[in-house]
Amino acid sequence: MKKEVVAMLLAGGQGSRLYALTSHVAKPAVPFGGKYRIIDFPLSNCVNSGIDTVGVLTQYRPLELNSYIGSGQPWDLDRWDGGVHILPPYMREGDQGTWYKGTANAIYQNIGFLDMYDPEYVVILSGDHIYKMNYADMVEQHKKTNAACTISVLEVTLEEATRFGIMNADENGRVYEFEEKPKHPKSTLASMGIYVFTWSKLRQYLIDDEADPNSSNDFGKNIIPKMLDAGETLMTYRFQGYWKDVGTIDSPWDANMDMLAPGNENGINPYDTSWPIYARTPIRPPHVTGVNACISHSLVTGGCQVDGTVENSVLFHSVTVEEGAGVHYSILMPGAVVKKGAQVSYSIVAEGAVIEAGAKVGAPPSEDPDWGIAVVASGVTVGENAQVKPKAMIREDVKGGEQA
């Protein structure tokens, strides 16, 4: 059936800069904020914006992501008409089929899917941003301005601008130039990687781009510049509010810490029921605090057992912090265990990792130029009295007493 708007969520990225966290899962499936995974944000935004048809393009390590999305029920996307669709690369008659070569190629390979719904507009989203946004407002502006493409932009500092795709636009918001990571930025409007396209236009650009052997088939590098060159109307959509790219190892730590300021302008407020973030949550009883528990300024989730000290930290479901253990400024993902007397500071401990008694992981910030957030990958055991240095990325077990 025809849909006015279909959203396409690019969720195939390997997220190599997050490598200890994405050794088992695609980046959008990385746990976030105590209860969520990164993909919950764009998916919930879609549903809250009234978009009921979403294609999720997967490629890298899709198993956990696929089962997480399932029928789409947690987001009310299990529907007769529309709903959520997992779109992996596939074989076609004649050619051999290929992996998704780039963001634009991923959509190109799914022209058939989009044609089934024959939408007027396509919203392109990525699976590595934490934000709340009403896409319907953006589509509305797109319609009003009769644009071929509308790009969501955020005001950044001049310094940050060198790390983003920068949109140079006139006073009406019409883009006249696009610069990818400019050394000397002319403006501070950064692209958030969220696009609304008029589908009939985009469809043709995708076909032409695919025929160009020199193209890297990427929205930012190829499609947007080609549309600009052809004189299409490209408009900016000004976004105001919290937005965080969680593509590097420090940024998910930062963004999780931002969750500790509920109601604060500088973070996402998960308690705001007018724009709920939905998640598939496992069945767990409420969390338990023991007689020795001391929890402050932290998030704690169902199934946790806390009998130690937890401060300025985010605990996902089923985390155990035993008596005498301390967790400071850290992110403990589902099922992580911190045993008696172990100390975890400024660290990310991924799913099911075990910190044995007396071990020490990470350290508070210091003058040392090598200081950084320590990361223990999922399923890894850090042995008794072992030490994990700041900024270390631990992907294999650390034996008792050793340093890593």
């Binding site: 209860k35 308690y271 605090t289 007689v291 998030l299 704690v300």
Partner: protein, 370 residues
């Protein structure tokens, strides 16, 4: 998968629970921070592979409907079978409450006739227990019993509301006493039965024709010799709810890790309505010790020995000890509570002091502001 159909009786409101059941059926009484009592038996059914469940309701079932919805949180929203809510549609001409469980079953006899499974499990939805229903069925089949009833050796109910059985060495029930003055026998019945659909229909028809409305008194007691009535002994934790202080004590039982391990056995998880709550936030000056705290709370004050449901707010400077706070309770700064049960959406204003006692906890009505 098995050939078992689940019937859940959710048609009694216990007058002895006072304020707690004024607005709801006992089966939808909140328990354990995030559950309603019926979650336990309903999850037991689903964990045993039951796909078709009928819930018999009579009065005050609005909160029950709201809670179970389509049954999707128990995977019971299905094209074929699944969850059916059974209001008293066949009972209109008589009016009033169902007089007993057989009355209730007769009220839904059209539904029972269409059951496609060979066996039926009957249970009340107001008992908190993690029961391995698949094992009960297996024993039922192995012993060739006509009726298998689940019993517990740990007596939990008040005698005047409970039923007790005596069994011989094979486990066959030799005596059944209903609501005695004192509990003289060693086994308490949980009023959970497995029997064949065929036998159930015969009994429902017989009872209807003879105006018998009580299963234990009217059917089982007179037929102890003719029906092979076997006991299944469940040694795990069982909580029944027959008074406000009993509700309070059973809630506090959950602070014992052994009780939690049994009741929330991860192999047979207790499912409940998913509300997409965020994690619970503890403020900089918060203190939480020896407590069970559900998701979606904001704890900035102190809680100790408490059961705290989803979405509760305890402001900075508030102190709550030995209390049960249901969903949406707000305790403002400076307030102090001990041995209190606050029902849903209760607000306790600044600097109020409320104190009950272990034997007489103070229960505050749904939606009240103190």
């Amino acid at each position: 998968m098995n050939d078992l159909h689940g019937i859940l009786l959710a048609c009694r409101s216990d007058a002895n629970l006072g304020e707690l059941t004024r607005h709801r059926n006992t089966c939808s009484l909140p328990f354990g921070g995030r559950y309603r009592l019926m979650d336990f038996m309903l999850s037991n059914y689903v964990n045993a592979g039951i796909t078709d469940v009928g819930i018999i309701v009579h009065q005050s079932y609005q909160s029950l409907l709201d809670h179970v919805g389509s049954g999707k949180d128990w995977d019971l929203s299905r094209k074929h079978g699944g969850l059916r809510i059974l209001p008293p549609f066949g009972y209109a001409e008589r009016g009033g409450d169902y007089r007993g469980d057989m009355d209730a079953l007769h009220g839904v006899s059209d539904y029972l006739r269409n059951i496609r499974q060979e066996y039926v499990i009957l249970a009340w939805g107001d008992t908190a227990v993690n029961l391995p229903v698949a094992q009960v069925l297996q024993q039922h089949l192995e012993t060739g019993a006509d009726v298998t009833m689940v019993c517990t050796p740990t007596l939990k109910g008040a005698p005047r509301f409970s039923e007790y059985v005596e069994v011989d060495e094979t486990g066959r029930v030799t005596d059944l006493s209903v609501h005695p003055v004192m509990a003289s026998q060693a086994l308490e019945s949980l009023e959970v039965y497995i029997l064949s659909k065929k036998l159930l229909m015969e009994l429902v028809n017989y009872c209807s024709a003879h105006d018998i409305y009580h299963f234990s008194r009217g059917v089982l007691q007179p037929r102890l010799k003719t029906l092979k009535l076997m006991s299944y002994i469940h040694n795990g934790y069982v909580a029944r709810f027959q008074s406000v202080s009993g509700y309070f004590e059973r809630s506090m039982d959950l602070l014992d890790p052994k009780v939690r391990d049994d009741l929330f056995n991860p192999q047979r998880p207790i499912r409940t309505k998913d509300q997409s709550n965020p994690s619970t936030y503890y403020g900089p000056d918060a203190r939480s010790t020896y407590s069970l705290v559900a998701d979606g709370c904001m704890i900035e004050g102190e809680v100790e020995n408490c059961i705290i449901s989803r979405g509760v707010v305890v402001e900075k400077g508030a102190k709550v000890a030995n209390s049960v706070l249901m969903q949406g309770t707000v305790i403002k700064s400076g307030a102090s509570l001990a041995y209190v049960i606050t029902d849903k959406d209760v607000t306790v204003n600044q600097n109020r002091m409320l104190m009950g006692h272990l034997t007489y906890p103070l229960a505050i009505t749904k939606g009240a502001t103190v």
